[in-house]
Amino acid sequence: MAFGKYKEVMALKAKDAKVTGVAQDGGVVTSILCYALEQGVIDGALLAAKSDTPWLPKPVVATTKEEIIAAAGTKYTISPNMSAIKSAAREYALDKIAIVGTPCQIYAARKMQLYPFGARHIADKIALTVGIFCTENFSYAGLKTVIEDHCKVPIESVTKMEIGKGKFSVKGAKDVAIPIKETHKYEQDGCHVCSDLTAEFADISTGSIGTPDGWSTCFTRTTKGSDLMKKALAAGLFEKKEMAEFAAPMGLAMLEKLETGKKDKAKKTVADRTALGLFTTPGIVY
């Protein structure tokens, strides 16, 4: 079944200009977290915030709307958000923590909830997981190389990056788009065995694939995620469109094509590694 288990899929665009001004696409993550915080569903969130180094994210425990908005926007590199969970549960004394992460980070959160080794009295404090679509991630050095050596744009001048329509594009000192093929060799190797593009185990999953610029594709997967989204929609946080409006080859057809590509590549990489005699994780869900 494509896209994992879900209750509803929709196209969303945040209405608050404060959010859309900083959002990557539809501002779904930022909006839903701000709403959840306001409503007391969460008392904090683990996010990839800006650091002193341009485009190098830093995992933070955000407890205010301002901090959530300040962390908006995709940084196409590794941000170990889960590493902040112990701080959140201990010296921040949070007990309703939201986790935002790539599919592998959502796996980590779910595993922690099932087997809380080294995480006593922590996993029970996870109140919400928001997954973001991911095809692959880059090391910071890799990202910098793509931007500065391939796009030839100084990284500190970059205001936005995007991966879509077969291109890696940056807006900065210059606006440059390069074929995504050029970035492949900088992908993190572990990403090639990953079979999850749409964050199939999050409460709410969202990303840009399948919807036009300024909009996000959004899955509600659990009762928790679905209830929260219904309330957020009722409160007028988003403009909503049906995914059916975006017919093939765009919309869900595009998402399915990329997802199938990722799962096939994962199967192949695992087969190649097994043939080499390397250890491969048993029981991967495709």
Partner: protein, 411 residues
């Protein structure tokens, strides 16, 4: 005339044993209490390890009172190096310890409950209250120490993290809830103690007492007032060959006598308490919970959550003996160490129950042996903590030996 043996003792931490010489009426004429917990050898394996490992390792003396050992460890090393934590770090360290006391003192009530409360419904209600109190105490330790059991934030030089403003307010709310539940529980325990049929004078003795602080613990008080009189005896010499071969703790003494440590010792010295004995100890613990609750509120009200909490030592060692003393729930806990080139060259610990073990035996004397465990439970002994290294020489237990580091005591 005869000997009564109680082994293992019940409703206390660790494995204890009573050997009581009694007269024809069953009254104890000579009482011995000893630890049967096997020596674990912390003081041996710490030698040669990096100094940062000491609080981590010594936390593992015990799962009930880890903060006291991590604290005493850290302070012994700080003392040896000549460093001290920033003010906020000291406050947080005290608060972490108080969180621990606020779980550990109520826990003793669980252990003595069957001795004083017979109605099962009342017992259940009391247990529910106690568990509420303990959850709050452990939560304070969780937030401030980074973990309720084995707090990683207690470090040489202070505390690894400060807490957030929201956490500070949350803890104040938690303590208010503790206060509400404690009001009911304290009243209940006082009533239970009032109507008990414990014979007056049970557990009273004329042994000296030691305390270094009302709540936190002061190394300088120990070094100045008590250390000069310190000596110790090996268990075989203290208990005699017939029963002493099983005992696993050295017998620490001041001026040749065992000393009592703990709630009565503290309140006697710092709050002019007059009573001694079993009921005095049980009641003193109730008073101590209230004192600590108040102090925790004081610390939180005045805490600067933006202040620095850790002064990481930059020097690697002076070779000087450092003494770290912390008033653990059960009494004065002393850790001593020498640091050279960032590594531990010598370590010794004299935890609270180590001091109290010989006292517990003596305190049973003069009363029927059926009261012996009541006497013991008033001390809330933590026997695992108490059990430390025995000195052997060529396979024989040495006749008399005082342990001292190579350079002598100059702390």
């Amino acid at each position: 005339m005869g000997t009564i043996t109680i082994a293992p003792t019940t409703r206390n931490e660790g494995h204890g044993k009573f050997v009581l010489e009694v007269d024809d009426e069953g009254i104890v004429t000579k009482g011995f209490f000893m630890s049967l917990v096997l020596v674990r050898g912390f003081e041996k394996f710490l030698v040669g390890r990096a100094m940062e490992f000491a609080p981590v390792a010594t936390s593992r003396f015990c799962g009930l009172c880890p903060p006291t050992h991590a604290t005493a460890s850290s302070e012994a090393i700080e003392h040896s190096l000549g460093v001290s934590p920033p003010a906020a770090g000291l406050k947080l360290r005290e608060l972490c310890n108080i969180g621990n006391h606020l779980h550990d003192h109520p826990l003793q009530q669980v252990l003595v409950l069957p001795d004083f409360v017979s109605d099962p419904a009342e017992q259940r209600e009391a247990l529910a209250r106690i568990q509420k109190l303990r959850r709050i105490g452990q939560h304070v330790c969780d937030v401030v120490g980074g973990e309720a059991i084995h707090s990683p934030h207690i470090r040489v030089g202070g505390m690894a993290r400060n807490i957030s403003e929201a956490a500070r307010r949350k803890l104040l709310d938690d303590l208010a809830e503790f206060g509400r539940v404690w009001e009911d529980q304290r009243t209940f325990m006082e009533y239970a103690y009032d109507k008990s049929d414990v014979p007056p004078g049970l557990g009273a003795h004329d042994l000296p007492m030691m305390a270094t602080d009302l709540i936190y613990g002061r190394s300088d008080v120990f070094t100045r007032e008590y250390m000069p009189g310190y000596s110790e005896m090996l268990p075989l010499n203290y208990y005699g060959e017939e029963i002493g071969t099983e005992a696993c703790t050295v017998i620490p003494m001041l001026n040749g006598s065992p000393v009592e440590v703990g709630p009565v010792a503290r309140l006697r010295k710092y709050r002019k308490l007059k009573d001694t004995g079993t009921m005095a100890l049980d009641r003193a613990r109730l008073v101590e919970i209230s004192l600590r609750l108040e102090r925790a509120g004081e610390i939180l009200e005045g805490l600067d959550t933006k202040a620095r909490t850790l002064n990481k030592p930059v020097i690697k060692g002076t070779g000087r003996t450092g003494i770290g003393v912390n008033e653990a729930p059960r009494g004065t806990n002393v850790h001593m160490t020498c640091i050279d080139d960032g590594r531990i060259t010598w370590y010794k610990a004299m935890p609270a129950t180590m001091w109290n073990i010989p006292v517990i035996g003596r305190a049973t004397e003069g009363f029927h042996h059926k009261w012996a465990q009541w006497v013991m439970r008033a001390y809330d002994p933590c026997i695992s903590c108490a059990t430390h290294v025995i000195v052997m020489h060529e396979g024989e237990v040495v006749e008399r030996r005082t342990m001292a580091p190579a350079g002598g005591y100059n702390g």
